[in-house]
């Protein structure tokens, strides 16, 4: 037990170091001319080293900004942006001293498969205090419905996502913001809350109303309290997982009815700014769609004297080459969203579009029109990416036609498959309706470094896990997890929770298997469509993955010699969370016309079988005397008249 605690604290420590270390990588450089790539890199590294030294003292304070980068919002630290060529686009170096602030941005990444990935982020910052019974009644940019939820339920952090489809890591790489299929909700409550479960129950019901989703189906049978996988992302002094609740609804189907309330939370609604692109008929004509809301307290300034609340609304969508693109490798805003942009949201302090052009430095892969002079660099998921930036607050962006319709036209037709450093898959093995086996495969594709992952499995109670059959194997050898947190299920009360810290050896597949038995439910517990099967939510794999930038040992050409001798500590690893596919498991299902048959049969059996048995048991058997002859009977009558006893 002590060993477990040790390793547990080690995990926390690692997570902490990671988030700190990534803090420094968020500098950006913007330069003129898309064609001066060599120059860009040189200048960039020079500024990088310069900035590293200047930023060292404030590492602790910039921590939450750093997490932004972890979650891969490349333009998040716009405040540091320098501009050498276009003085009119200078952004103030400090956060504007407004009480609240709204930023919007869209990142578009053309994917090798020919698909296109668009990620919207809308951030509202508000310097206020919802805590400690502070009554907040005046709302400007921050949506009132969510503000009331935060103060009423003493929410410390709230993360909710609705996803349709499954993120294909093998084809698309890592998403900026991962989310599992269906609905996911995890909430940190403040440590002042006494009845966390009651709060959680009410909160899910309220959110269910706000987002028009079936979150009210979250109850104790699908809620868990992960001990290590989900840590607060904002500033917080609560780390006791008693105040954390995590639940997924893998079956939840996302549709326009969820999108509309989500759009209503935006200050401009869908009337102006980037949100005009969010038309449901196009957004749902895609192979992946995910919308999320994240609320957390963040530092207001570098010294972190005051906190403000951050509401971050994200929407990720991947358009398919074959279904939406008609097979042509040519994408435009109009083709994707059937709208073009004409203005930024007037309430937004920043409104930008980023196009990922990292793989395309010489424009040999695809061409982009209209061209933009602005470039930006950011460290996203351990990889240094270059982006073309379109600032919507500048009128010049919209050109003479007063509308912006970005066009990306691919020149070459083939793209190599991505090889993400970490990916995972899960399936149910075996056949028959009695037992089965859950296999989780985790791939570490790093050529020489091993790294630890935290695996979180929450399995409903009706799959009875045989935890003694749990095996973890890598490269054919047993791989002992350094930390296991297992909470057995209780029938109809709570699910299984299994958390493990596993070291993945380099270039290997690690397989976690556990057998289970399928429970026979009570007949009222079956869903209306029992033959569809029952869902098991995605496993969550959280990990510190060695950075791709640090892995790249051949890139000495782009770097000055002094910067490349020791592997760069700051870039050495980044945080990644991936979700496996949910499982659909068939349980033994009775024939539901059976009750009728059973009633008929039992009635017959009772009537016939029991009746005759009862008859046999209760009837008294007597030996019947043969009836006397006629003469004897007459004689008896006479004798009776005479008063003499009969013969």
């Amino acid at each position: 037990m002590a060993a477990y605690r040790c390793s547990y604290s080690a995990v926390l420590l690692i997570l902490c170091i990671c988030s700190v270390s990534t803090a420094i990588d968020s500098e950006e450089t913007t330069l003129t001319g898309a064609h001066h790539v060599g120059e860009v890199d040189n200048t960039q590294t020079a500024t990088e080293t310069g900035e590293q030294t200047t930023e060292q003292p404030v590492v602790e304070e910039r921590r939450w900004e750093a997490i932004d980068v972890e979650e891969a919002t490349p333009g998040d630290s716009d405040i540091d942006e320098k501009d050498t060529s276009a003085p009119e686009t200078i952004v103030p170096l400090t956060v504007p001293q407004l009480k609240d602030d709204f930023q919007e941005e869209l990142v578009i990444r053309p994917l090798h498969s020919g698909d296109i990935y668009a990620s919207f982020q809308f951030r509202t910052l508000w310097e206020t205090d919802f805590m400690k019974g502070n009554k907040v009644s005046h709302y400007r940019l921050f949506p009132k419905s969510l503000g009331q939820v935060i103060s009423k339920f003493s929410v410390q952090e709230l993360h909710i996502s609705f996803t349709q489809g499954y993120w294909r890591t093998m084809q698309w790489g890592q998403p900026f913001l991962p989310s599992p299929p269906g609905a996911e909700l995890w909430v940190w409550f403040q440590d002042s809350v006494t009845d966390v479960d009651g709060m959680w129950k009410e909160l899910t019901n309220v959110l269910s109303g706000i987002f028009c989703a079936s979150l009210n189906f979250i109850d104790s049978t699908n809620t868990v309290q992960p001990s290590a996988s989900f840590k607060p992302l904002g500033i917080s002094n609560v780390t006791d997982h008693r105040f954390l609740r995590y639940a997924t609804l893998p079956r939840e189907i996302v549709c326009t009815e969820n999108l509309t309330p989500w759009k209503k939370l935006l200050p401009c609604g869908s009337k102006a700014g980037l949100a005009v692109l969010l038309k449901s008929e196009k957004l749902f004509h895609s192979s992946f769609h995910s919308e999320a809301v994240h609320i957390r307290p963040v530092c207001q300034d570098l010294l972190c004297k005051t906190t403000s609340w951050e509401l971050r609304q994200t929407l990720n969508v991947v358009f398919d080459l074959h279904t939406s693109g008609q097979g042509k490798r040519e994408w435009s805003l109009f083709k994707m969203f059937s709208r073009t942009l004409t203005e930024a949201c007037p309430l937004a302090s920043s409104s930008k579009i980023y196009i990922d052009i990292t793989d395309n430095p010489q424009w040999e892969q695809f061409e982009l029109s209209p061209a933009t002079p602005l470039l930006s660099q950011a460290l996203v998921l351990g990889d240094r990416r270059t982006f073309s930036v379109y600032d919507l607050t500048q009128q010049i962006t919209f050109g003479t036609v007063r509308s912006l319709n970005l066009l990306i036209r691919w020149k070459s037709n083939e793209g190599d498959m991505l090889r993400p450093l970490l990916h995972a898959e899960r399936y149910v093995a075996g056949y028959g309706l009695q037992t089965g086996e859950i296999h989780t495969l985790m791939y570490n594709n790093h050529p020489y470094r091993s790294f630890p992952v935290l695996l979180l499995d929450s399995v409903p109670w009706y799959l009875r896990l045989y935890i003694h059959t749990l095996t973890v194997t890598s490269k054919g050898k047993h791989n002992k997890p350094s930390y296991i947190h297992y909470q057995p299920s209780k029938d109809r009360v709570r699910p299984h929770l299994l958390e493990m810290l596993i070291q993945l050896p380099p270039n290997s597949v690690t397989e976690v298997t556990v057998q289970f038995e399928r429970a026979l439910l009570k007949w009222t517990e079956y869903t209306p469509d029992p033959n569809h099967g029952f869902y098991v939510g995605s496993s969550v794999i959280s990990s510190l993955v060695p950075s791709i930038a640090a892995m790249d040992t051949n890139s000495t050409l782009e770097r000055p010699l002094f910067s490349s001798f020791f592997p760069c500590k700051e870039e050495s690893s980044y945080f990644v969370r991936i979700y496996t596919e949910p499982l659909l498991v068939n349980l033994p299902t009775p024939d539901f016309s059976m009750p009728y048959n059973v009633i008929c049969l039992t009635c017959t059996v009772v009537a016939v079988g029991y009746g005759s048995l009862y008859n046999l048991l209760t009837r008294s058997f007597q030996i019947e005397e043969p009836s006397p002859g006629l003469a004897k009977r007459i004689a008896n009558v006479i004798r009776k008249v005479r008063g003499v006893p009969p013969l």
């Binding site: 499954y166 192979s287 080459l321 075996g430 056949y431 469509d529 569809h532 596919e581 659909l584 009837r619």
Partner: protein
């Protein structure tokens, strides 16, 4: 139920049953056979109807346009197959990738227990290629499978072409809610077995396969396509799977509905439906169709690549394109539209196919006989065994016309009875175990000593052991201490009859056809065999009605039904190959017919043989 509580009336009933036992048995047998034959008569059968609401109304519009292009792809595939002399893995991977599928391969190898002379293979090594169309609307939880075999020679090229054409067309559609797996399997069933075992990560038959890299969740339904010509006259639906399992009837209904809608001639068992049910020829046509299904189901082997899916609770059927000399031809586009329609309907499924029947017989594609209708035929025959058992029981309990010392006699006779029952039981089962294990075990030895091939060695060893079992009664009696008594054979027969009843009952529940055919031949033997009937004649009848001879007759009968009658030498060769195929099916796919016959039915029959030669 006063009938049973009243000792007098009970006695009367038992008297009636024992006195009229033989006539009742004969009547039951006749009634059972008559009932079975009546099943094919159209007024007695039900019309098929779609039970699954999600597939009910025909709301999908089929638009598959690219039949010609699919055939060109098929020709390309044929050229590459010829060049690679087997599965053109690289070409298939490249083609599927170009269509935007996630493509994976699986290699497998398998050494057969003895060479398969029908397909000329012993060591099998191959690769399956499959591409997954990821559904935009679902997180990899459900999947449908479309498979086409990569057969040697020039067959099934069009099937692969059409599969690739459909993949391309399906890829550009947005409405898929289930992943669609396009599978090209090599070495037909062996490849399919490897793929299914890999997909479900089980290993029931000891095959070597590489693990699968991509999956699509739980498979809801599968269709296997076999197409060997550019145009076809009709499509044939094959349903019979491993161990006589059948897919849900709704799958057959779906096929029939789309054939009707698109106007494709469809058949089952290769037999067209006829409308003249009231004529003799029309009725005999229906009987033929149904008997073909019964024979195929009883064989317990998968009759198409779909057959192995059924074990995993995946509804599956094979669709075979047939090109005969009829005038009316259907092109590949139409077949593609039919498949598109079926897949779109399956895509609409909210639950697994479960609404309709899993146990049925089909005298035509539009009519079916459900389990409730065909079971009485079996029940009527099986009740004979119970009647005989009752008769024997009564004879054992009330010895006829005995005085007070008769009781002592019975006790004296009953004690050797137990041993005399147990010994033949054990010995006959040991013979069964020998029949099950020795043929494969001793093939090498047989090949060394006799001028036969491995396959012949296995089959001939099996026949030799089977025949050697006939010498059993003499061996049994040598082991017995005392003489066999009247009581002894009665006890043995009672045990044997009940054993047979349980055995047939269980078989018929799982595989009705097999159970019924066995009951048809074994029940008369079981009913009337005693040590007192004429030995030579009864022995002859007993041998004629033994399981092995039943199989021989079935082979001839099946050929007759296929309208391809064979003469005796050919039939005998066919018989030998059927035995070897049965043994192979067991070891390759886990078919249960061979162990059932060898370990249970044959020993049971030996018990009756024992009774005949009771001393």
């Amino acid at each position: 139920m006063g009938l049973l509580s009243d000792p007098n009336r009970r006695r009367a009933l038992i008297n009636l049953l024992t006195r009229l036992n033989a006539p009742i048995c004969v009547v039951c047998y006749m009634a059972g056979v008559a009932w079975f034959m009546g099943l094919a008569f159209e007024p007695f059968t039900l019309r098929t109807y779609m039970s699954e609401n999600a597939m009910g109304s025909t709301m999908v519009e089929e638009q598959f346009p690219a039949g010609e292009r699919a055939l060109v792809t098929g020709r390309e595939f044929a050229a590459h197959k010829k060049k690679a002399d087997g599965m053109p893995v690289d070409w298939l991977v490249k083609t599927m990738q170009a269509q935007g599928l996630e493509v994976f391969t699986q290699s497998f190898s398998r050494t057969l227990p003895f060479p398969d002379e029908n397909k000329e293979r012993y060591f099998v090594k191959g690769t399956n290629v499959y591409g997954i169309l990821r559904a935009p609307r679902a997180p990899r939880t459900e999947a449908l499978v479309l498979s086409a075999p990569c057969s040697p020679g020039s067959s099934n090229n069009q099937a692969v072409g059409l599969l690739l054409g459909l993949a391309q067309y399906f890829r550009s559609q947005i409405f898929w809610a289930k992943d669609i797996i396009f599978l090209v399997n090599e070495h037909d069933l062996i490849g399919m077995q490897a793929w299914l075992e890999g997909y479900h990560h089980t290993n029931t038959t000891g095959m070597d396969w590489s693990p699968l890299q991509g999956r699509g969740g739980s498979i809801q339904a599968a269709l296997s396509l076999e197409l060997s010509s550019d145009v076809i006259t009709s499509l044939d639906l094959v349903l019979e799977g491993l161990n006589g399992q059948l897919p849900n009837l709704d799958l057959a209904n779906l096929f029939y509905a789309f054939c009707q809608k698109i106007g494709v001639i469809c058949t089952i068992q290769g037999k067209l439906q006829r409308n003249d049910w009231d004529s003799v020829s029309g009725y005999s046509h229906a009987v033929q169709t149904m008997m073909l299904m019964v024979m195929k189901q009883a064989s317990g082997r998968p009759w198409g690549d779909h057959g192995l899916f059924l074990r995993y609770h995946i509804e599956a059927a094979s669709i075979k394109g047939i090109n005969s000399f009829r005038q009316y031809k259907t092109d590949a586009t139409t077949v593609g539209r039919l498949l598109e329609g079926m897949f779109r309907k399956l895509n609409n499924l909210l639950e697994r196919l479960h609404q309709s029947y899993f146990f049925y017989l089909m005298p035509s594609l539009s009519h079916f006989v459900s389990i409730g209708y065909y079971m009485p035929a079996f029940g009527l025959i099986a009740v004979i065994l119970l009647l005989r058992a009752l008769d024997l029981w009564v004879q054992l309990v009330t010895p006829p016309s005995r005085t007070e010392d008769g009781i002592v006699d019975t006790e004296q006779q009953a004690s050797p009875g137990v041993l005399s029952v147990l010994t033949p039981l054990v010995i006959s089962h040991l013979t069964g175990v020998a029949l099950y294990t020795l043929p494969i075990r001793f093939q090498e030895m047989a090949v060394e000593h006799f001028p036969v091939s491995e396959t012949e060695a296995v089959v001939l060893t099996a026949i030799a052991i089977y025949t050697a079992g006939l010498a059993l009664p003499h061996n049994t009696h040598r082991l017995l201490t005392g003489e066999g008594t009247e009581q002894g054979w009665r006890v043995l027969k009672l045990a044997a009859v009940l054993y047979l009843a349980v055995l047939l009952g269980c078989t018929a529940l799982i595989n009705f056809s097999l159970g019924f055919i066995l009951a048809l031949t074994l029940v008369p033997v079981a009913a009337f065999i005693t040590p007192h009937v004429p030995k030579v004649l009864s022995a002859f009848i007993l041998v004629i009605l033994s399981p092995a001879c039943t199989l021989l007759f079935s082979v001839f009968f099946f050929q007759e039904l296929l309208e391809m009658p064979v003469n005796f030498p050919d039939g005998w060769l066919l018989y030998l190959s059927v035995i070897s195929q049965g043994i192979l099916d067991h070891s390759l796919y886990g078919s249960l017919v061979y162990p059932l016959i060898a370990l249970l039915v044959y020993p049971c029959w030996l018990l009756f043989w024992n009774i005949l030669f009771w001393k």
